[in-house]
Symmetry: C2
Subunit: 478 residues, 2 copies
């Protein structure tokens, strides 16, 4: 660390944040977020009314402690704890759910907030630069947008993380030039984030560990979904010349996503390159790298188990040959997802018979986590796959419904639906044809007759998308 | 025209199309579509079961005559006549509504159809090349995707159109490189589309005119919306340094869009460049070019009145200095809309109090036209504006509703709502805050109390997005 860097204690750092400040934090995939300053803010007896902005989920120091302290008045854009979710649903915190790819631009140029201070975690810091820790997210945009900067230098995180970072800063619109990335494994930037040294209030040292993920062991449903997905991918690689030399994949985060990544090993990719161009790297991908089956993996953060994180940290230089972490405005960039012809695989809460997908609000009302980067991939992938179990585990609730009452991904977005029951490839289908395939191939047998009866009844209408909204509403009530 | 080009009569051309063929046609903005071959197909007594694919709307020869003949079994992706709309809603034609930016890739690489023959209109044709006429759309992708090619050489269209075309072909994924466009006025391609001469069945000559648009004169509501939009843009240019040197605008097509473009002349842009980066050029933009107020205009087609088209044709070389027509996968490209920091202004059927927008299906059921390129701009613009009158002209129907039952643009997409009543800038707002602003600033006075009462009643719920779906459904029934 450069000798000129002003070390300060955490109380001084927290005290430098105004009571009604807009605070932009690092953190994505529940890692790489600041920990000490949020805890000090949570412990403060000041009358805080903060706006907290981050581009992906953060750990308990923000998502539980700071939330419970009542210090947050407004928040963007993802949460993943019971405490935070509950505060959002009670509307004690004003929450706005943004897309991971564009929240940086919205903050820096789009007039979404008036950005006061960025608070970021780093593994190294010097005069006008720092090396981010375990995630990048929208940190570079946040640092440029904010008037001031606070850095948490986390000694628990290995300095070797710098070898997996590739920080490229797109120019400001309207003179932004195309991002010069020609492959997910390319490096086009630096291992550090630059900042205006005048903005730096100070650096707080810590050795608090990141949160890590706990994933369930793959269930029978997970394995059946993985097998159905493999069979779809296998046919698709056979069908389309676009995948002859390489296939670029993305998987949404979670236990299912992790299981799908892990089970991909079973698929015969032939001699084509397998490349990951996604938002998050999970344990399953390390297995693919170790077996030499994955060419490279690009993401903006990692969602590892404790064991996965240890594997990476213990062998970071080797993994850095294949793994690149980028800012979210590059990793999730619509134009780049398009360039690489990504096959995106994302889960959701539910989808409806016509192919609309709800990934955020139960019954259209109760927020779960947030849209994250799922819309970036669902909208821009060459082939978008929505994969989930056909019913809620252990409950009598179908995840295939007549009508979703919150839509995060429209009928124009998704090409293929996969459940443990089968695959509904709806490309080129009209809405009613989609409904037929989705009910036939994806619905759980215990709900299939009821869904079929809905479709049979409404199709007497002379409408492009026949619906009985009141009846569809009672489905959710039951 | 090259002497080797095989001229054929229209019956031979139509006869070369198999009864169950998938036919990819040119046409966008109801211009530049093939006319003679569709009419010959409509007149044929063969048992045709065609799949017709185009990237934007086409004229009556397809949208009325061919539809009425019963020759179309399946169709993508936009329609704009009563006849076509009715066939779609009766589900006599299987219709799938796709985004204008990506339907080319979906056809060429995405497995949406098995493309048999492309039928395109041109103003010049030679060995392995043709010059498109009044629109580009996804023609280059369609020509590459199809096994065979038929060309209609339209002598009615001026050859000078070649001077406004800039045909750039993105490579195939996954080795697609960034599109090297650094400004909307740039030229990065050729004035012609290349094709494999082996594909060419023949060339049919015609002098049938294009359809042109008829726009109503601006209504009082149109003018009030324009004034509210100007006042928003004016404040935004004051607020944000990102617009200091230039502002890039896009407007959706239609009478309102045309009025908004025309009324933009009244806005004081200071000394910044005004640039149009959109999908369609309308008459209003010619006024801006004539007055020297518009730096350049990029689009994939034009939606002119007969008078507007004559103005362009009479002075095409002068207009070609400022107007560029591009393929829709460039004009509507998510990454380019992002690069230029576009302010996109699009209309819709209705929006709901939480900011979801329905631009295609009345009551969630009855298809009007199609999503077109609106989702490309709404999702990727730096600032997305949804502008429409607060109620249906001359009817007691609010266009601000409690809940839309078809969502084309999600709550994550739109930043600002504008009606003749006012402006609701919902950036950074939670769903309930959005509802407050939308009801207060955008709803028509005759519906405001009812919308407010809905919000007042549901907000007792402990939900992030409080809703009473059954009550929201009865709103549409009434």
């Amino acid at each position: 660390m450069d000798g000129d860097v002003p070390l300060i204690d955490v109380e001084t750092a927290a005290g430098a944040i105004a009571e009604d400040a807009t605070v932009l934090t690092s953190g994505f995939g529940s890692v790489g977020y600041p920990k000490e300053i949020p805890l000090a803010l949570a412990d403060s007896d000041r009358d805080l009314r903060l706006t907290i902005v981050h581009s992906g989920n953060v750990g308990d120091e923000i998502d539980v402690d700071l939330v419970e302290s009542g210090a947050i008045e407004r928040r963007f854009s993802y949460q993943s704890t019971r405490v935070a979710r509950s505060a959002t649903n009670r509307r004690e915190i004003a929450f706005s759910d943004r897309n991971a790819s564009s929240i940086g631009d919205e903050v820096q140029y789009g007039g979404m907030v008036d950005a006061d201070v960025a608070v970021v975690e780093a593994v190294a810091v010097g005069e006008g630069w720092f090396v981010p820790s375990t995630s990048i997210g929208q940190v570079p945009a946040f640092v440029d947008a904010a008037d001031e900067l606070l850095i948490e230098l986390n000694h628990r995180q290995p300095l070797g993380l710098q070898s997996i970072h590739d920080i490229y800063r797109p120019e400001s619109p309207p003179n932004r030039t195309p991002i010069p990335l020609t492959g997910p494994g390319d490096r086009i930037g630096e291992s550090y984030v630059e900042f205006d040294p005048e903005k730096l209030i100070g650096v707080v040292e810590t050795d608090r560990p990141d949160s890590t993920y706990t994933f369930r062991d793959p269930t029978d449903d997970d394995l059946a979904i993985a097998a159905n997905l493999r069979s779809f991918l296998s046919e698709e690689m056979e069908r389309s010349a676009v995948f002859d030399d390489a296939i670029h994949l993305q998987f949404g985060v979670g236990s299912l996503g992790n299981a799908l990544m892990g089970e991909l090993q079973e698929l015969d990719f032939g001699d084509r390159d397998v490349v990951y161009y996604g938002e998050l790297i999970q344990d399953g991908l390390l297995d693919m790298i170790d077996s030499g089956r994955l060419e490279s993996a690009s993401a903006t953060s990692m969602a590892f188990t404790a064991e996965g994180q240890r594997r990476l940290f213990d062998d970071i230089d080797r993994y850095a040959e294949d793994i690149v972490l980028r800012p979210a405005d590059v990793a999730n960039h619509p134009g780049l997802i398009d360039q690489f012809g990504v096959v995106g695989v994302n889960s959701a809460i539910e989808f409806d018979i016509y192919g609309n997908v709800n990934s955020t609000h139960i019954g259209g009302k109760r927020m779960v986590n947030g849209v994250g980067g799922s819309a970036d991939y669902n909208r821009n992938s060459l082939i978008s796959v929505c994969a989930l179990p056909s019913k809620l585990a252990g409950k009598d609730i179908s995840r295939v419904v007549p009508m979703t009452f919150h839509v995060d991904h429209t009928e124009h977005d998704i090409d293929v639906f996969v459940t443990e029951q089968g695959v509904a490839d709806v490309r080129g289908c009209s809405p009613v044809e989609r409904a037929e395939r989705i009910i036939e191939n994806c619905a759980h047998p215990s709900f299939k007759p009821k869904l079929q009866s809905y479709l049979d009844d409404v199709r007497s209408q002379s409408n492009h998308i026949p619906h009985d909204v009141e009846r569809a509403a009672t489905w959710h009530d039951n």
